[in-house]
Each structure stands twice: as structure tokens, then as C-alpha cells.
């Protein structure tokens, strides 16, 4: 399941929704991304996440299908927030559930690596010196490319 929302989320609630009544789940891997209070040595006042409504849903849906196709998972959840966030706020949640923990871990890392570089979100930071768009990181592009190369086989 994917959700793109302005509001915050509660990982306990989401985890229970995913697992309750599913008799095959033995392991649940998850990742939560937070707004850092500090970026390149500057204090962040707020972070605003812009996205491309319509395309975002398609991309996350596609990532969900890729993960379900590649790993033996029971189910998975991606929640990505947009709008104005404060330092320490939760940005993104990925949960994967499986009978086996290695599938859960791998697919969780796959999803976050892929969406960092491939989902149409853009981050803008406000500091005391003004606002600036966050630049894409080379390491995020590389992490994404590694998965794409693996997926080809």
C-alpha cells in the first residue's frame, strides 16, 4: 500500500494494520526518514517537500510492484509526506513484512534507495540565510543505480 499525505504517521499503528491477522509474517523491517536539524552545518528552520501529484502515486505504485515481484513478501507500506515539515519530523516510512527477515530487510532498503532518487519529490530548506533547494546526492544516485543493474538480471 502507498500513501502520499501531508499528515504525520504512527509507525505502531501502521505496523499493526499490516500484520494483524496475517499468519505468515515472522519479520517486519522498516525505515523512517527524519528531517535533520542541521544540514551542511546550517540550522534548518523548516523543510518543504514539493511533489508531482499523479506521477508520485504512479512511481511509488511501480516500486511496490517491483518489490512484491522480486521478494517473497507478505505485504508492504510506503508513506511519503509532503508540505512544510519541522526538524525532527518524520518524512517517509517504508515497512516490509515477510516470513523471512532477509527478504524484509533487502526489499525495505531497495524501496528507500529507489524512491530517494526516483520519486518526484523536491526538498526546500529554510535557514536563517534564506531558502535553498536541496541538491540530489551522488551517493543516492549510485545506490539507486545498483538496484537497477541488479534488477535487469
Amino acid at each position: 500500500m502507498i500513501k502520499i499525505q501531508k499528515t504525520d504517521f504512527d509507525i505502531s499503528v501502521e505496523l499493526k494494520l499490516l500484520t494483524t491477522g496475517n499468519i505468515n509474517i515472522g519479520g517486519v523491517a522498516s525505515f523512517v526518514g527524519l528531517v535533520r536539524e542541521n544540514s551542511d552545518g546550517e540550522e534548518i528552520l523548516t523543510m518543504t517537500l514539493e511533489h508531482y501529484p499523479g506521477m508520485t502515486e504512479k512511481i511509488l505504485q511501480k516500486l511496490e510492484c517491483e518489490a512484491l515481484d522480486r521478494w517473497s513478501l507478505e505485504n508492504l507500506l510506503i508513506i511519503h509526506r509532503y508540505g512544510e515539515l519541522n526538524p525532527g519530523d518524520q518524512i517517509v516510512l517504508v515497512i516490509t513484512t515477510s516470513a523471512h527477515r532477509s527478504a524484509a530487510f533487502e526489499s525495505c532498503q531497495f524501496l528507500i534507495d529507489r524512491l530517494k532518487n526516483g520519486a518526484p519529490f523536491w526538498k526546500k530548506e529554510k535557514t536563517v540565510r534564506g531558502t535553498r533547494w536541496v541538491e540530489a546526492k551522488e551517493e543516492d544516485r549510485e545506490a539507486d543505480e545498483r538496484w537497477q543493474n541488479i534488477i535487469k538480471y
Binding site: 526518514g33 517537500l49 514539493e50 511533489h51 508531482y52 499523479g54 506521477m55 504512479k58 511519503h80 518524512i91 517517509v92 528507500i112 524512491l115 530517494k116 532518487n117 526516483g118 520519486a119 518526484p120 519529490f121 523536491w122 526538498k123 526546500k124 533547494w133 536541496v134 541538491e135 540530489a136 546526492k137 543516492d140 544516485r141
Partner: protein, 83 residues
């Protein structure tokens, strides 16, 4: 055609999108970018460095060579920073 801008592309151009009738010789994404750059200094400043521009054609990621003649919506934006 509906053109959308996001991230600093949007900030530099100053608008989130525009609807434009394209000349018939605008056939692929790179043609479109060249055409848009000719519309003024803010377009030029936003889109001039083509290596920094990413594109989605009808909400599918494309490249500078993707055909757009039949597209309804083309989005131009900087590298994505989700997650």
C-alpha cells in the same frame, strides 16, 4: 501542450506550469527545452544547463530524446530528492 515545472526549475521560471502551442518542429524533449529557453531570460536561466534537467513525459520518466509529439503533459525538474 501542458508544461509543468518543479523544484528550482519552477522557482527560476516563476510559475508552476504553462500551456503552450508548440511549433511542429518540436518533436523530442531536447527540442522542447531549446524552444522554452527562447521564451525569455528566466526560462533560459532555469533550463539552459540541460544536464541538470530531468523530464517526465505523460508522467513517465524520459530523456532528452523522448518523443513528445503525442504527449499531453511534459514536466521539467531538477534531480529528485525524495525520501
Amino acid at each position: 501542450m501542458k508544461i509543468l515545472y518543479f523544484g528550482w526549475v519552477k522557482s527560476k521560471i516563476g510559475i508552476g506550469g504553462e500551456t503552450i502551442d508548440l511549433p511542429p518542429d518540436v518533436k523530442i524533449v531536447s527540442d522542447l527545452i531549446t524552444f522554452l529557453c527562447s521564451r525569455g531570460p528566466s526560462h533560459e536561466s532555469a533550463l539552459g544547463n540541460i544536464s541538470q534537467i530531468r523530464v517526465a513525459v505523460d508522467q513517465e520518466i524520459g530523456t532528452v530524446d523522448t518523443p513528445i509529439s503525442k504527449a499531453e503533459e511534459v514536466a521539467l525538474f531538477p534531480p529528485m530528492t525524495g525520501g
